[in-house]
């Protein structure tokens, strides 16, 4: 339908009006991560939507071709930048599979990867819930949840040296062992987070204003979720119980007892509720992992993969050479290709990697969960009100850094 084509307006419109183009973004407070939506609205109603991504393109895949396998970790931090550890882990697993060392990663390193990954999943969900609540005017909730996120990030900062861009994982393990009092601190943080989240839960879940904006809005069916490749909380909100941690277990996830929450209607509220429950399940995993954390090394004992300890580097020629070759030439990954996938904050985070046997990737392609999830917006937004864009977009939780790379 063209603009101004008043004669063809549907009959149910009480007051006929002309269609109007409306831009949301790319610079708009509710367009997290810079995205543009070109809408055609009729009054308050959305007729068509064209979601335009690409404003946060950083050439991740091209940059990766010019970096050693290890130098790519800082780039992965900047994919989904509210859960960098999950990206670190997903990328490391892909390279390790191609190297054929995925079964030789020390157990303690695998537990630590689970712990930092689940902390990142919690911070990811907290950010999504907090920002969406704020955009619906629940500012107090924003502060309660951001406070919780900050406690978790402070802990990761203590561990990795960086609040957000951790680059903590390495091919073959993690760069350093947990700090001495990490587990007691994490237990304390989890206790405080639970209280914060309970408060937020109380303020939102039975809040009439909040429910009116969420219930029955942006419905996605289970079939659509499969058809559009939706994963993560968005896919699960439709009743599609797909979680890579359960369906294709990696690391030591098969040893933990946790549930995969699913929704029934596939609306915004289901996506909210699934995220809230997933935070609780992640906390369950964290507690089990801390209880069963084994002792031992945190990095593989292989001079062709892991940097030797500095003491050895400065005092023996063997380790000096290994250090030099790993830094200057990079890890030599045998020629081949692999697709490896993990459960990221927003769903299936996949890395498709091709090596030509040099010290750098020939191709490093990311399958970002956000990309598929964002694509469905064009389908679910038409028919909604302009005001529904904000909670619907918020619950899809597109992260530009990951979607655009």
């Amino acid at each position: 339908m063209g603009f101004g084509d008043a004669a063809n307006l549907p009959e149910d419109d009480e007051l006929p009006s002309e269609n109007m183009p409306l831009n949301m973004g790319p610079s708009h407070p509710a367009m997290h991560g810079t995205v543009r939506m070109v809408m055609e609205v009729q009054g308050e109603k959305i007729r068509t939507v064209d979601v335009q991504i690409g404003y946060l393109h950083r050439c991740f895949e091209k940059e990766a071709e010019n970096a050693t396998w290890t130098q790519i970790f800082p780039y992965t931090d900047r994919l989904n930048y509210v859960s960098p550890m999950l990206n670190n882990v997903g990328y490391a697993l892909a390279v390790e599979k191609l190297l054929g060392i995925d079964t030789k990663i020390p157990e303690r390193a695998q537990f630590i990867r689970v712990i930092v990954g689940e902390i990142s999943r919690i911070t990811d969900h907290l950010t999504c819930l907090a920002a969406s609540a704020m955009e619906l005017a629940a500012f107090t909730v924003f502060f309660y949840l951001m406070k919780a996120r900050e406690w978790l990030w402070e802990l990761l900062e203590e561990l990795s040296g960086a609040r957000l861009t951790h680059s903590y994982v390495r091919i073959g393990g993690v760069v350093a062992d947990l700090t001495d009092d990490f587990c007691p601190k994490l237990r304390d943080v989890l206790r405080r987070c639970r209280a914060s989240i309970a408060d937020a839960d109380k303020m939102l879940t039975s809040n009439r204003i909040f429910r009116d904006r969420m219930d029955g809005i942006g419905i996605i069916t289970r079939d659509d979720a499969i058809g559009w490749g939706l994963t993560g909380p968005v896919g699960r909100s439709t009743g599609l119980a797909y979680d890579v941690r359960k369906d294709h277990p990696y690391l030591v996830y098969d040893r933990f007892d946790f549930d995969v929450p699913v929704g029934s209607k596939g609306d915004n509220f289901d996506r909210y509720a699934v995220r809230l429950e997933e935070i609780k399940q992640s906390m369950r995993i964290l507690e089990q992992a801390m209880d069963r954390l084994p002792r031992g090394p945190v990095l593989i004992d292989d001079a062709r993969v892991a940097l030797p300890p500095k003491r050895e580097v400065y005092n023996t020629i063997e380790s000096m050479i290994a250090h030099f070759k790993l830094i200057m030439d990079g890890i030599v990954v045998p020629p081949g290709e692999i697709y490896s996938f993990t459960e990221g904050g927003n769903g299936e985070l996949g890395f498709y990697i091709v090596s030509d046997g040099s010290g750098r990737p020939y191709k490093c392609r990311v399958r970002p969960p956000c990309f598929a999830n964002t694509a469905v917006l064009n389908k679910i937004l038409p028919g909604l009100f302009i005001a529904d864009v904000v909670p619907t977009f918020g619950m899809i939780n597109m992260i530009g850094g990951e979607c655009d790379r």
Binding site: S319, A322, F324, K325
Partner: protein, 518 residues
């Protein structure tokens, strides 16, 4: 004796790692392994030198012989079964590397060879174990001034003897020797002697570690930062194939590029230093009567000067230092636009020579100049005579002419500041051999390609391009856009060059991406 003629040598059937291959007799096991892609590491073996089998790194198993055998020293034989990757062989390799590393200093961060070091590469590929030695290391002299170009670090030396064989077999001057035994063994010169043969820098190339370093390159640039461009040495008529290693807009070193038909694996020390001239006192902007001008004004003024002279008294002086393309373009300019037959060939003159690589003719392209211009070229002596007897009233000089003073109108193409450029009415800066795509024809008549490793200095331009601009200013219709077009036309017109090939375009390669060439 008709029946006694030996039959053509039969192919030998050799099993390498379970696969049957056929080889000609005379090949060593190591060469056979290399031909079929079986990886065997080595330090002391070099394709251009004899094999002493001292490093024991290339040991392989041969069925029927109980001990591992050095493959570089063993000729292939019919029905031989070679194993290059059995646990025993891998173990022996690791043990040999452990021995070699036992007293090796922890120098990688300050070592010039780091990044292109064979010891680093072999350790990483074949050993990659942590040190078991917690005792001290044997210390030797760190800075031994061996000769004009070379500094030796005796600690880093792994005693492979490659450098000794370069002196003995390539330079034919036995300057280096091993002294003492066991872990006291070291590389040195005889008392009072120095490593001063004309091929001494080849020892640095063949050194698998950073023991021998060139004074000229030492500590100047990390090897993996260098960009390598294939080229040809401009030092003499031999035309040794080289790689230009440049970084940050400057040439850092020249190294030989193997070519069995010209220079094998080597080049002389003088040739390696020719790059210095590229960065010395360059003439970088066009001038008219000594004042800097624009290219357009300078070319117009040069054309006006040249057109005003009667062709019979106008001389064109070419240089055998120029590329074929520049020489061809200026020959064409002289014939078609300037209509003069007074074309002279100048250049660098003669110098010392030997029967190894160095030619007496110190120009890289005398053969090319003669092929392009036929036999009509006049010599530098003719030029002197003609200047003295007043047969010339103006000159177009491409390059530099030594020992002649000029007081007649000159148009000069200059690469360097100097008397010729200063004396010129119009001086035009031209790009040197390392800055242009082009070709030289060596003393054997081989046309060999140069690839630009650097951008031309200042405003200088390739010679053939300047010839085209002059020709257009003089009314010619010339349309060369790149050196390849000049080359193609030259190949069509110069009968003796008809077989020459321009080859593929080559971009400079960063040595880091050449994957540790050690």
């Amino acid at each position: 004796m008709a029946g006694a003629n030996p039959a053509p040598p039969a192919k030998l059937k050799v099993v390498i790692d379970g696969q049957v291959h056929e080889f000609s007799p005379g090949l060593t096991v190591l060469e056979a392994c290399q031909q079929v892609g079986a990886k065997v590491p080595f330090f002391c073996w070099h394709p251009g030198l004899s094999a002493p089998a001292v490093c024991r790194q290339c040991l392989v198993e041969i069925k029927g012989i109980s001990k591992p055998i050095p493959s570089c020293y063993t000729p292939v034989a019919d029905k031989m079964e070679v194993i290059t990757n059995s646990p025993k062989v891998l173990d022996v390799r690791r043990q040999m590397l452990e021995f070699t590393l036992l007293n090796h200093p922890i120098d990688c961060p300050i070592c010039d060879k780091a990044g292109e070091c064979m010891l680093q590469k072999h350790y990483f590929d074949w050993d990659a174990r942590v040190a078991r030695n917690d005792g001290g290391k044997v210390h030797k002299a760190k800075v031994v001034d061996l000769g004009r170009h070379i500094v030796l670090d005796q600690e880093r030396c792994i005693l492979c003897s490659r450098c000794i064989r370069v002196c003995n077999e390539v330079a034919r001057q036995p300057d280096l020797v091993m002294a003492f035994r066991g872990d006291h063994q070291l590389l040195t010169t005889a008392p009072g002697q120095r490593l001063d043969n004309p091929y001494s820098l080849n020892t640095v190339d063949v050194c698998p570690v950073g023991a021998l370093t060139a004074k000229d390159f030492r500590f100047s640039m990390r090897a993996w930062e260098l960009l390598a461009s294939p080229s040809v040495c401009p030092g003499c008529a031999t035309g040794c194939n080289i790689e230009i290693h440049a970084a940050c807009g400057a040439i850092r070193r020249l190294v030989p590029r193997p070519n069995p038909a010209v220079n094998k694996y080597w080049m002389c020390d003088d040739g390696r230093m020719t790059y210095k001239r590229v960065h010395e006192a360059r003439f970088v902007a066009p001038t008219i009567a000594g004042a800097t001008s624009s290219w357009d004004a300078a070319v117009a003024e040069a054309a006006r000067l040249l057109a005003a002279v009667p062709p019979s008294t106008l001389g064109v002086v070419l240089s055998a230092q120029m590329t074929n393309e520049t020489l061809f373009a200026f020959s064409r300019l002289a014939a078609e636009q300037l209509h003069t037959e007074r074309v002279y060939l100048a250049g660098a003159g003669e110098g010392w020579a030997d029967d190894i690589l160095v030619s007496a003719d110190k120009n890289p392209n005398t053969t090319g100049a003669k092929l392009i211009s036929g036999l009509s070229l006049r010599t530098a002596t003719d030029l002197k005579q003609d200047l003295e007897n007043g047969a010339l009233t103006a000159l177009l000089i491409v390059g530099e002419v030594d020992g002649v003073s000029f007081d007649l109108p000159l148009v000069v193409l200059a690469s360097h500041q100097g008397p010729t450029a200063s004396a010129a009415k119009v001086a035009l800066p031209f790009a040197m051999w390392a800055e242009v795509d082009g070709s030289f024809t060596n003393r054997q008549g081989k046309v060999q390609r140069l690839h630009a490793a650097l951008a031309p200095a200042g405003q200088s331009r390739p010679g053939w391009e300047i010839a085209s601009r002059l020709a257009r200013a003089l009314g010619g219709v010339w349309a060369y856009e790149n050196a390849k077009q000049v080359f193609s036309e030259m190949r069509d017109k110069v009968t003796l060059m008809s077989g020459a090939d321009w080859g593929k375009p080559e971009m400079p390669v960063q040595l880091r991406f050449a994957n540790s060439r050690g």
